[in-house]
């Protein structure tokens, strides 16, 4: 026990302290005067803007104390937005090229023929770019401190803001690192990292506006709010005091954000590690098992809080209070709503399915066809384990959802939920089969993945605005006809119970099509092998 602990400790210490790749990056970063100039420039800009904003507010006289307070808070808020902006700009930019350039330079092989685990390497990379991001925050301390001294914010505000800002930077860094390991060109790594940063900042900002706007219009004077409102660094000051009630405890939301972002970063880094991991597949195993655990955890959150409208327990209900409905009907409605919710929660599979379904030529191992469905490959990242893992994801989600509803709403989910569960399984199996079919036509793995992604957009995303234009309504309550031809039509209404039956029908059709495609793909794999043989590889 003691020796195990000490090995673990010394292993962990060597990963985080004196990490060689971080030390080397540090040396390069500090070489010359580049970083000094950059940081200097940054400070000048920051101070300049701060002085400008401050002079705008301080110029005017005749404020009441409350107004002055408000202005100061506004000022601090501006500074925080600037900081968040700086992090969003700098973190992806620093990280995005780090792995892909090493791949280009071919120094990755040198590192991974040494006793270096992907974890050690990636942690080193995170540290070397995170150090920079942190410098930005630290350099801004005098200004944030000034706003505290002036009375625009409290120290705890600043502290929480710094924690949330760092976490924001950590997520962006991890994402950029994942992109950097996946990309084959530095440019695409940069572009995708910024796209990710943009989407993440935008999405978290939208989540937080639900709260900040609500407050602005006086909807809620309370500090209780869903934890995700605290994710955005841009509204840090407004959301830093929010909490979530757990039992009788008021848990500050930033603690949830801390847990969530650490886990999310870990998943992203495990993803990057599994791309880098060349032998044994330890990383990909870790990634897949963690993914299942996290899916289960996060499925419990919404399902536990879900309440059918008729139950008296509903306090923090997610469903709008409607006119009294008969309990039976209400429980059907609830089941359908939960089914729809569950199905929507699988949306991130859009990114994963092309990865687990496709096979073909890539730089390295793993992606050669080795069968259609083999349980023993479920976590090793080979194509034969793709479908088992996909089913495991959906299965975990469904089970966790039921557990959540059982303990939260004390009700078993009825048929409509299961119809949706079937629908969503068939839906993703369809894209899995499509991935295999496409892979059997193309030698390049990237091509196949991009094609699956493109076809998803073509079949699922593009029809929507088209149908809206055609029918003239957003949902089909008025004019259901053409909408029923759309694969997403099971989501088009929450009040119409027949949606679940449409889901079932779509599920059957999609499952049948998936089966056909999978069979054709199998037949084609032979010719795929010939394509591989002739694929113009110029390995080293």
């Amino acid at each position: 026990m003691g020796s195990w602990l000490s090995t673990w400790l010394s292993g962990t210490k060597s990963v985080y302290i004196g990490n060689a790749s971080s030390v080397r990056d540090y040396r390069v970063q500090l070489r010359g005067s580049r970083s000094v100039i950059l940081f200097g420039l940054y400070l000048i800009i920051l101070i300049g803007i701060a002085m400008f904003v401050y002079s705008q507010t301080a110029d005017r006289t005749g404020f009441t104390l409350v107004q002055a307070q408000f202005q100061l808070r506004q000022f601090t808020s501006t500074i925080m937005i600037l900081l968040g902006f700086a992090v969003a700009i700098v973190a992806p930019g620093l990280t995005a090229t780090s792995v892909v350039t090493e791949r280009h330079r071919q120094s990755l092989d040198l590192i991974f023929s040494a006793p270096v685990s992907p974890k050690y390497y990636l942690v080193g990379k995170v540290m070397s770019s995170f150090r920079y991001t942190w410098m930005l925050l630290v350099l801004a301390l005098p200004i944030t401190a000034a706003s505290v001294v002036l009375g625009g914010a409290s120290w705890s505000d600043v502290l929480i803001a710094y924690v949330l800002m760092s976490l924001f930077g950590l997520v962006l860094t991890s994402f950029a690192l994942l992109m950097s390991t996946l990309a084959s060109k530095p440019v695409s790594a940069i572009i995708w990292s910024y796209v990710g940063a943009f989407v993440y900042s935008g999405f978290t900002f939208l989540l937080s506006t639900s709260y900040t706007l609500g407050r602005m219009f006086g909807a809620s004077r309370d500090n209780e709010a869903s934890w995700w409102v605290s994710m955005s660094p841009f509204s840090v000051l407004d959301t830093s005091h929010t909490y979530t009630q757990v039992g009788s405890l008021h848990v500050p939301n930033w603690i949830f954000v801390l847990a969530f972002t650490l886990l999310a970063s870990k998943i992203l880094l495990l993803g990057a590690g599994s791309v880098l991991g060349t032998s044994g597949g330890k990383e990909i195993k870790g990634l897949r098992i963690y993914a299942l655990i996290y899916i289960a955890t996060f499925a419990l959150l919404p399902s536990w809080n879900a309440r059918p409208a008729f139950t008296p327990v509903s306090s923090a209900s997610t469903t709008a209070v409607t006119a009294p409905i008969a309990p039976v009907e209400e429980s059907l409605r609830f089941a359908q709503e939960q089914g729809q919710y569950l199905a929507l929660c699988t949306a991130p599979l859009l990114i994963f399915v092309p990865f687990i379904a496709c096979f073909g030529f890539d730089r390295e191992k793993r992606y050669w066809p080795n069968g259609v469905f083999k349980l023993k490959n479920i976590v090793d990242g080979t194509p034969a384990g793709g479908l088992p893992f996909l089913l495991a994801i959906i299965g975990t989600l469904v089970v966790a959802w039921n557990v959540g509803c059982w303990f939260g709403a004390k009700s078993a989910l009825r048929a409509p939920f299961w119809e949706f569960a079937f629908y969503v399984t068939a839906f993703w199996t369809f894209f899995w089969a499509l991935g295999r079919l496409i892979s059997s036509f193309f030698a390049g793995l990237k091509t196949s993945r991009m094609m699956v992604f493109a076809l998803f957009v073509l079949l699922v995303v593009i029809p929507y605005p088209f149908l809206v234009a055609l029918v003239g309504t957003f949902t089909d309550d008025a004019n259901p006809g053409p909408w029923n031809l759309y694969v997403m039509s099971p989501f088009m209404s929450t009040s119409d119970f027949s949606r679940a039956d449409i889901a079932l029908a779509y599920g059957l059709v999609l499952a049948a099509m998936a089966a056909v495609m999978a069979v054709i793909a199998e037949k084609r794999i032979r010719s795929k092998m010939v394509a591989l043989r002739n694929y113009d590889v110029q390995p080293n």
Binding site: A20, V23, L110, L532
Partner: protein, 308 residues
């Protein structure tokens, strides 16, 4: 000791390495010969734990590349057929980085860096930036990098490509020195003369199959059991041929392109007897030289030039 056991690598439908096995002992310098695409790099990368074998394995001093890759990595130095050098880094920093990665204790690093720089003749370049070195120096730096952790096995994938003759000779001397230090060295190449004279073991690989393995002399003997001499006789070569065949030391004699090819067993005295006989009998002997097979002949004989 390195044991390679049935190592096999498939890329989809293509089998790049078809289950090869061999053993090497400390001090062995193994020349791995094969034409382009024969599977040399694939084999070396599997031994270096960079590529997972489809089946089979390699065991270095008891550590299995599949079961304990980290232990194997600690014992190997892998030099790929590209440099993979970092920009903006000085020579000593580059070596220090790899020493750190190989978990060489901080205190020992300066001494080790000095000694590998000395060994590879780069001491004067200690403070130079890596990108300012010449190609040959960069190559030597790569070799130096492989040595910072005193590995038991060196995997050198085409180390001599792009080197001038002088640098090549120096590299050979260096590799021989490493062999004397008791390391196992695997050197891959498709340039045969480069290998023959300093490898004590060679392996010939084609289309993923190991066609021959063993000491150079042994392999040559397998292909051609006897020594061969070529004699250029200006007049009546047929008669000379008949005369020679009578000798007990001559196994066979043929006329090829007007030249006598004498397959021969015997010592240096018997060799002198042949010359004496030809001269005594009045044949006008214009030239007499040994024409035994070398590695190149073996290679050409064994391989067909087919590629995967």
């Amino acid at each position: 000791m390195l044991e390679v056991k049935g190592l096999r690598k498939e890329y989809g439908g293509l089998t790049a390495v078809k289950g090869i096995s061999f053993n090497l002992n400390p001090g062995d310098i193994f020349g791995f010969i094969g034409s382009n695409g024969a599977g040399k790099t694939t084999t070396i990368r599997m031994i270096a734990t960079l590529l997972e074998p489809t089946s089979g394995t390699a065991v270095l001093n008891g550590a299995d590349v599949r079961k304990d890759p980290m232990a194997v990595r600690r014992m190997i130095g892998y030099m790929p057929d590209f440099f993979g050098l970092y920009d903006d880094v000085k020579v000593w920093e580059y070596l220090d980085f790899f020493a750190a990665i190989y978990q060489v204790p901080v205190k020992e690093r300066p001494g080790i860096i000095d000694s590998v720089l000395e060994l590879t003749n780069l001491t004067v370049k200690r403070q130079a930036f890596v990108q300012s070195l010449s190609r040959g120096m960069q190559q030597r730096l790569c070799l130096a990098r492989c040595l910072v952790h005193d590995p038991a096995l060196l995997l050198l994938d085409e180390p001599a490509s792009g080197l001038d003759p002088r640098a090549r000779a120096e590299l050979k001397e260096l590799i021989a020195e490493l062999g004397r230090m008791g390391k196992i060295v695997i050197v891959s190449s498709h340039i045969l003369p480069e290998l023959a004279d300093f490898c004590n073991t060679v392996g010939i690989i084609e289309r993923g199959e190991l066609l021959a393995f063993g000491p150079v002399s042994q392999i040559v003997k397998d292909i051609q059991p006897h020594r061969v001499f070529a004699a250029h006789v200006l007049k009546d070569p047929e008669v000379a041929m008949q005369t020679l065949i009578q000798l007990p030391s001559v196994v066979d004699a043929k006329l090829v392109d007007g030249e006598l090819r004498i397959e021969f067993v015997g010592d240096i005295e018997a060799q002198a007897d042949i010359v004496a006989l030809l001269v005594d009998k009045g044949f006008r002997l214009a030239a007499f030289r040994e024409d035994s097979a070398d590695l190149e002949d073996v290679f050409l004989k064994l391989t067909t030039g087919a590629v995967n």
